[in-house]
């Protein structure tokens, strides 16, 4: 096969796998930002915090990173509930969400990042599972398990989330709270309780995504910064509250980044992705897959 074509094919395939990781990182945000209208800028920082805890748990217990991520998820659910309670008490209830709420989450993000530097130092941390160095080959195309396993795990987690939101009463209530909290109140459901639950869920998802992140690449405290733009870009391009849109946007994003990295060098890939976000924001703020407002 033509080497350039092979390079392009490989770039697209590993871009799709990378997109799986991005989908995991963005799906929690699709819940908090998309459905609850809470601009959690700290989401990627929480993901990185989850990744650090996975490294510790994994090293200590000698277990798989993805399993460790699942084990710690309840802890992060509680953390998310705590953050939402504070956010609701100080900002949402007062109607000060816009400016003060943004600054609040910006501060939380910064506290997490600097806290990780103080606790673990600025070095990279990693945890290699047994499949970390195994690569499947399909003809010309490489399928490294290091990328494939987290991508599949991420899609499975998002699938479960989708079923939960579609099939359970609480899940439907989460979708409803974004549209009409008053109507929810009339059905004897407390919107604040639903939002608390949903926000906890979104932070737990961030922690699970942290587990996937550890498998794919080493993490450092500042790893979250590059993800802020990514996850918000994916969330907006995916049409905010749509999980399917989020997955499609994440895959497209992964491919765009990876193909750029393959042909022009990895240092250019952020500019392409973020330039894309700027264009989307400027010309189609409702997202590629969203409906016009």
């Amino acid at each position: 096969m033509d080497p350039t074509l092979s390079l392009l094919l490989n770039g697209i395939v590993s871009g799709l796998l990378l997109g799986g990781l991005y989908a995991a990182a963005a799906s929690g945000l699709a819940v908090s930002f998309g459905m609850l209208d809470i601009v959690n800028i700290a989401h990627p920082a929480l993901m990185v915090a989850g990744a650090f805890l996975v490294v510790i748990l994994g090293t200590w217990l000698g277990i798989d990173p993805l399993l460790a991520a699942l084990l710690q998820a309840p802890l992060f659910y509680l953390l998310g509930v705590g953050i939402y309670v504070a956010y609701h008490h100080f900002f949402e209830r007062r109607g000060d969400e816009a400016l003060q709420g943004l600054a609040f989450f910006f501060g939380v993000m910064f506290i997490i990042e600097v806290g990780l530097v103080m606790a673990f130092g600025p070095e990279q941390r990693f945890l290699d599972p047994w499949y970390g160095f195994v690569t499947l080959r399909l003809g010309e195309i490489d399928l490294p398990l290091r990328m494939l396993v987290p991508a599949l795990a991420a899609l499975a987690a998002i699938g479960l989330l989708y079923l939960y939101l579609q099939r359970s009463f609480t899940g439907l209530a989460i979708a409803a709270v974004a549209q009409d909290p008053e109507a929810l109140r009339l059905m004897a459901v407390n919107p604040v309780r639903i939002k608390r639950l949903a926000f906890g869920l979104s932070v737990a998802l961030a922690a699970v995504a942290g587990g996937a992140l550890v498998v794919v690449q080493p993490v450092e405290p500042s790893s979250g910064q590059i993800f802020i733009g990514r996850v918000f870009a994916i969330c907006i391009m995916g049409g905010m509250a749509s999980l399917l849109g989020t997955i499609l946007a994440a895959l497209a994003f992964g491919v765009a980044e990876n193909v750029t990295a393959t042909f022009y060098g990895p240092s250019w890939s952020p500019a392409v992705a973020f330039g894309w976000l700027l264009l989307v924001l400027a010309f189609r703020p409702q997202g590629l897959f969203g409906k016009a407002a």
Binding site: A86, Q100, L102, A103, F110, V114, W268, F283
Partner: protein, 328 residues
Amino acid sequence: MTVAAPASAIAPPRPAAVARPRHLRFWLGALILAAGLVVALRWLGNDYAYFAGYFILQYVVLGTAWNILGGYAGYVNFGAAGFMATGAYAAIVVRQALGLDLLPGILAGALTAGLLGLGTGYLTLRLRGVFFSIATLSLTVVLHTLVVNWDYVGGSRGAYIVRPREVPPFTSYGEYLFIVMLGLAVISVGIARAVELSRIGQGLAAIRDNERAAEAVGVPTLRLKLIATTLSGALMGVAGAPLPYYSGYLNPEAAFGLAYAVNAIAMPLIGGIGTWLGPVIGAVLLATLQQAATVTISSALSLWIVGWTLVLFVALAPKGILGMVRRR
């Protein structure tokens, strides 16, 4: 025959008493304060004092610049680091291409970052609230990537600036930089104050409170927003332009540091948002605290303190220190 009505009912309501700007008093006070600072530091004769003084003053400029857009017009800019780095790299380019020194570099930084601000101003046409903030954040990443890949200014390796040992008539280069930054701080605060007390400031406040209503009653929202973003961007560039001269070396990691973006937001919020004095109070308090914590304990801890102060203030005292004082 007309029905006589009581005079008080016909008379138009008296305009609310507008405080007179008292520009002369402000400028005189600022000049006296600045001169006092220069004399006091020369009497102290300590190089570290100039170093720390510059650090605080750069944040006075940065916080004031952020406040013009964020405090007056209500548009939250997460990209302060991007604008600051634009100023810093403009100064480096001017030096490498034309051999020009610090002062022309500052001018170039103001122009470049001002143009960038004008560009983001057009973004506000379509992006309100959170979406504007996210766009500024992405703008920073795009600029960061461009600079990392731009070999002319050193790429990811960074650029060195050999600074002269001293600039007569100043006793040291540190004092020179300090006095330049002091002048820039006075000018920035003066500009912000003039904007706040003018019709522009009233228009921006109307945009902050309700942009659609402001537009409906004929406030020229786009023009005002463009003025605010350009001015805010230019002043952020001014805050960053002397940075390579201050540290003698600049790399993208340092220039685009998240700490600048967090500080630029935290300082106005802590001091009191939407007033010219707020960012000054916030910057002096928070930057002093950071310097003290950096020197005595560690720089990571000093940043941690900034984060906690920001979170605690927005939660417990959303109107900042000025708001707490005025309530009493």
